[in-house]
């Protein structure tokens, strides 16, 4: 059975504690701590000691997707307590300015593919330049982003054919025309099913669907439907 959890930011905007408690209440054992917005980073990092993370088998950390006030170097320094815990860092490739600053994270640096708004990191060819410069980095495949770039999912297959050996985490959600993360639709479930067989069962799945707490279980079931596990004959 695939390990499935949620991003704190999807369930409780800018309130990781609330997000964590919703995730725990649904007996999910995977979580991504979200500091997607720059202002969320420092409070979250400063409070890591106090967070109750018992019961979670898999924890990752989403780095801010855009920097306005912080420098790249300052952000990396702020991430020290996260790296000491050996948690994977989910990074949008367009945040990376100097590759040498990120190289030290090794395979805990998870580069995420981008949605169609971004000029980089959308396809296998565009991701290749990041993995060439950061050869130890891993891949976080955002299924919603890649489906927005190409609803046939053939681009997703190209990414997996080329970088499947680096795949360590999935992001799953519907990504709408405004590039916002919504609950999975029937169309999206059909699309994701096409590449499910290319994704190992052990890869943690983090849902980014913005759903109310009472819809969490439903969304997890839809996710299992979208990513069925092959049963050996």
């Amino acid at each position: 059975m695939r390990p499935i959890g949620f991003s704190t930011g999807a369930l409780a905007y800018s309130d990781y504690s609330a997000g964590l408690s919703i995730i725990r209440s649904h007996n999910l054992r995977c979580v991504e701590l979200s500091a997607l917005r720059e202002g969320e980073l420092e409070p979250l990092v400063n409070n890591l000691e106090a967070l109750d993370l018992q019961g979670f088998d898999y924890i990752s950390f989403h780095v801010p997707s855009k920097l306005k006030n912080l420098s790249e170097q300052a952000m990396i320094e702020l991430l020290q307590p996260v790296t000491l815990r050996n948690w994977p860092l989910i990074v949008h490739p367009d945040v990376i300015e100097r590759f040498d600053r990120w190289a030290a994270f090794g395979n805990l640096l998870f580069i995420e593919n981008m949605d169609k708004r971004k000029p980089v990191g959308r396809t296998a060819r565009e991701l290749a330049m990041f993995f060439e410069r950061l050869p130890d980095a891993s891949l976080c495949l955002d299924m919603g982003h890649v489906r927005q770039v190409d609803p046939t999912m053939s681009v997703a297959l190209e990414i997996l054919e080329r970088f499947g050996h680096k795949l360590r985490q999935l992001h799953v959600s519907e990504v709408n025309t405004n590039s916002q993360h919504d609950a999975l639709s029937f169309e999206t479930v059909l699309a994701f099913q096409k590449i499910s067989s290319s994704i190992p069962e052990t890869i943690p799945v983090i849902l980014e669907s913005r759903v109310p707490p009472d819809k969490v279980d439903e969304e997890v079931l839809r996710c299992r439907d979208a990513l069925p596990v092959l049963i050996a004959a």
Partner: protein
């Protein structure tokens, strides 16, 4: 020896058989330079968004741009409906007036194209002549002026290919040793070729014979080449080594086929043909006939006087016209090369027999 789609098979083919391709080279350079100009014009005014692409067709897309070529283009829209798209198309039209001849006023170009009808209306009563033309040309001879990585254009091309592929019941031959020729796609390409030929007669009727000479020459060579490249793109499925090496993978075969076809159609029609000749024309006879003829054809089109002469030539005068007799000689040589390749080559003949006629 197997098929490999390389980045530029024309130069290696020319080197292998000492082919004269000076006109081909120059036409490629002109097309690339013109597309760059077009791109800069659109970029300067930020006319495009993530949901739109300017797509060019015709000689500009095929890398066969000659003096007097026009710019067949459309604003491809794959996103939310917005009345401003029409203004953008008009703005593009106004801006490129300084570098291109106006496109054919009755053609399917120079305005807007919507992705939904291209992807959904394949066959059936809503698949108009214009829709079929744009769809098949989108696959076989189009380019986004943005180059690779252009999301709207790439998305739509993949969407069209996926429509053809996902309806096939099985993607492999009965023995499960190779991919099959995708028949739905093949049939649409064949239909498109016959439609072009019928439209030639229709335009002859509608325009009272005006422009007969040049349209006839194009039908014999460049339009036929589009069809040939479509046929070969379909034939590549059972022949391509890289694609067929993935047969035993658990990954989705339809998507693998879409990715293979997407790679094929990134090549110009002449490049597709050159890839096949490079792989399978072991004597060079077909390559020499085809490329020598096509090089001559582009040379004629690139001569302002000859092009105008063909433009003015009417059918009833063609039998005694020395330039048209030259076109006929060139096109006969081109056809002889194609006949050799499609009806004598032991790799291609079985596919021609199985898929090319009935």
């Amino acid at each position: 020896m197997g098929l490999t789609l390389t980045n530029d098979p024309i130069e290696p083919l020319a080197e292998k058989w000492s082919l004269r391709i000076d006109e081909v080279r120059e036409a490629r350079e002109r097309a690339r330079s013109k597309r760059q100009e077009f791109k800069e014009i659109c970029a300067k005014e930020k006319l495009l968004t993530q949901d739109t692409s300017v797509v060019v067709f015709g000689s500009l897309a095929r890398d066969e741009y000659t003096v007097g070529s026009d710019a067949d283009w459309t604003l491809l829209i794959d996103g939310e409906a917005n009345s401003d798209h029409s203004r953008v198309a008009r703005r593009i039209s106004a801006l490129i007036g300084s570098i291109f001849e106006a496109p054919n006023p009755t053609g399917a170009f120079g305005g807007m194209t919507f992705s939904h009808q291209l992807i959904h209306n394949i066959g059936g009563p809503d698949d108009t002549n214009a829709n079929t033309t744009q769809r098949v040309l989108m696959l076989l001879e189009s380019r986004s002026i943005h180059g690779l990585g252009d999301a709207a254009y790439g998305r739509v091309v993949r969407g069209i290919l996926n429509r053809y592929v996902e309806q096939e019941i099985s993607h492999l031959n009965q023995e499960h040793t190779t991919y099959k020729v995708p028949r739905f796609l093949l049939n649409d390409i064949v239909r498109f070729w016959r439609t072009m030929a019928v439209d030639f007669a229709s335009k002859q009727w509608a325009r009272g014979g005006q422009g007969w000479g040049i349209r006839n020459a194009k039908l014999r060579l460049s339009r036929k080449l589009i069809y040939i490249s479509g046929l070969l793109t379909c034939f590549s499925c059972p022949l391509d080594g890289d694609l067929n090496s993935k047969i035993d993978s658990e990954r989705d075969r339809a998507l693998q086929l879409v990715n293979h076809l997407r790679q094929c159609v990134k090549n110009s029609p002449l490049e597709v043909l050159a890839s096949f000749l490079l792989a399978y024309d072991t004597t060079g006879d077909a390559s020499k006939l085809i490329f020598t003829a096509y090089n001559e054809f582009l040379g004629i089109l690139n001569d302002v006087g000859k092009r105008q002469h063909l433009q003015d030539l009417r059918a009833e005068d063609s039998a005694r016209d020395s330039l048209f007799l030259e076109i006929r000689r060139v096109s006969d040589a081109f056809q002889e090369g194609l006949d050799k390749f499609f009806f004598e080559n032991h790799n291609i003949l079985p596919l021609t027999k199985k898929y090319g006629v009935f």
